[in-house]
């Protein structure tokens, strides 16, 4: 097993090198660059920018160096923990990410918990009470949940939150707590705001989980080993948890690692609609302004997390299912 993990980690190196080249190449593809967008911005503000200033900016970010040199400078920065500099926001990428990482992870993890706490029990219940009135009810709700675009749900909930609970629209804090040091009052205020992104981002996932859990469990419930266990005299609830549920959750475990990049970035569209201080909207704006180092580095971090997450999934599945061996 140790051998397997080491080998997988080794294989990650060429994978990530290939991804980094592709990312760098793709970011360079559209015409223009970050300086062009920056200039457009400055012009819009009515500022006069001289040729010399532009040249200075270009020189500062080495934009006129040959492509391979630029790539090499960018990539070797990673090894020193330096993810480059955002040209548009005029801050190091590290600082931008660091500022948003905490809330991004907080929102993402509360979404995952929301999804699991609601999704698993309902899926389980729907399966063991297949075709009952409650199964049909949950099915209808689940399909509605899957079919509703989450930005629409976000707008709806923001309206309700404002109308009936008096919460300010968007963001994670009320204006009076903005920039305040953390206190109990601020924490309560955070909880008041957190539920909206939690429900919005979690809704589709929860609905999907209900359907998948129901289907997986129904498949397992009619397997011969369930009949065997019944014939042994195992009590029905204990039986369902020990055998079919145990096997029905394998597909979830095998995708658990894919949540890593999602936890890192959060949902971009919902982040924009709800004005959340997360990384998703940061990525979106960096792509729109061609902020190459910011966009490239964010995508690179997410790719690394995806590769790492896949390894974690594989290991988790091996731990759970004895039929899987990585020797």
């Amino acid at each position: 097993m140790v051998h397997f993990i080491l080998r997988r980690l080794m294989v990650m190196i060429p994978t990530l090198v290939a991804i980094s080249m592709l990312v760098f190449f793709l970011i360079q593809l559209p015409p223009g660059d970050a300086i062009t967008s920056r200039l457009a911005e400055l012009h819009a503000e009515g500022a006069e920018v001289s040729e010399a200033q532009i040249a200075a900016l270009r020189a500062r970010f080495h934009l006129d160096d040959p492509m391979p040199v630029q790539y090499f400078r960018w990539v070797t920065g990673f090894l020193r923990g330096d993810f480059g500099y955002s040209i548009v926001q005029e801050q190091p990428v590290n600082v931008l990410v660091y500022d948003r990482l905490g809330y991004t992870v907080l929102i993402a993890i509360s979404c995952v918990l929301f999804t699991w706490v609601i999704g698993f029990p309902i899926g389980f219940y729907s399966a063991i009470r297949q075709y009952s009135a409650s199964d049909y009810t949950f099915t209808i709700i689940a399909f509605l949940g899957m079919a509703t675009p989450n930005f629409l749900l976000a707008l709806g909930l923001m309206y309700l939150g404002h109308r009936y609970f008096g919460t300010t629209i968007g963001g994670l804090f009320s204006p009076e707590y903005m920039g305040e040091p953390f206190s109990f009052g601020k924490f309560v205020d955070l909880l008041k705001h957190l539920w909206i992104p939690m429900v919005v981002v979690g809704m589709a996932g929860t609905a999907g989980l209900v359907r998948v859990m129901r289907a997986n469990l129904l498949d397992e419930l009619q397997k011969p080993y369930v009949v065997t266990a019944r014939a042994k005299g195992v009590g029905s609830l204990r039986l369902i948890f020990k055998y079919p549920v145990r096997i029905a959750i394998n597909p979830f475990i095998s995708t658990i690692g894919w949540m890593l990049p999602m936890i890192f970035s959060g949902d971009a569209i919902v982040g924009v609609v709800l004005n959340l201080p997360t990384i998703g909207p940061l990525l979106l704006s960096s792509l729109m302004t061609q902020d190459m180092f910011l966009a490239g580095s964010l995508i690179m971090i997410m790719s690394t997390l995806t590769v790492l997450g896949t390894l974690i999934s594989d290991l988790a599945l091996a731990a759970l299912d004895p039929r899987i061996r990585y020797d």
Partner: protein, 346 residues
Amino acid sequence: MKEENIVEVEDLFIRFYRDEGVIKPLNGVSLSIPSGKSVGVVGESGCGKTMTAYALLRILPRGGEIVRGALRFKRKNGETIDLAQLDEKGKTIRQIRGGEIAMIFQEPMTAFSPVHTLYNQISEVLRIHSDMDEEAIRKRVVDLLGHVGIPDPEQRADAYPFEFSGGMRQRAMIAMALASNPRLLIADEPTTALDVTVQAQVLRLIKKIQKEFNLSLMLITHDLGVIAHMVDYVYVMYMGEVVEAAPVGELFENPKHPYTIDLLHSIPKMTGPREELAHIEGTVPHSAALPPGCMFHPRCRKRVGKTCWTREPGMTDLGDGHYVRCFIHSPAESGISRESEDLTYA
């Protein structure tokens, strides 16, 4: 209930009420299993063999109901109870399942959970049905595995089902069934999924443990060759009814029901001139739409006339424990027209 019997099934009807209609897998099955003897139940797929076994354990698939009949069973403590009257989720039936009636299944591959060790699954029987401590359970499981012929049982007990061959898995299944000293063993097509070379070994093992543990055996199979060597008495089933019952020798030498005769003809012969393999015309009708009259009449080559599709034949006693359900062997007046239509045709 007769003194010598451990199980008496009487006039058992099972119905599944589904959206697409009522499925009728059992239509008045009666059979009995004497203590310490082995009884075979033969018939094509879908004739209700397995449903009869599931009914005994009260583990019918979802939606299945016993709508009429009795399932008398003599318990270890000598008490006779009607299993059909028990609560399917109650304590009594759970004590009987695995504790007094054990079952082994057709597919040893899928009948074990793939993600639990053999030890985990076999010891579960003892955890439910005995108050042994962990050490005693361990010893008993290892002994059982050794007894059914699994080499190196101490180590192999902790292996997973997929690490065994089909034959070895079926041996482990037998060990699991024996764990809590049941009185009745139901073997549902125990060798159908196995290689021919392994089939004989597993059958010998079942026969051996039946003698050793003084078990009553109900052997369910579609394979008449298996029946011949394994059991004392045979029930032939067709569409949820017993159509013929006889001691095993009598059945092979002197079959009476046209269905039994056709079944025996369809066994391939290894000797004699090559000829086309006999088969039974037509297919088994769907058990949602039972044919009127004798269930077998649409496929029968010896129909005697209108009686066959207007009246239902009853069981005729031919003497010496040989019974047959056919108008050839009984006067037409003996036929039954079922009084409760809802149970037979809908």
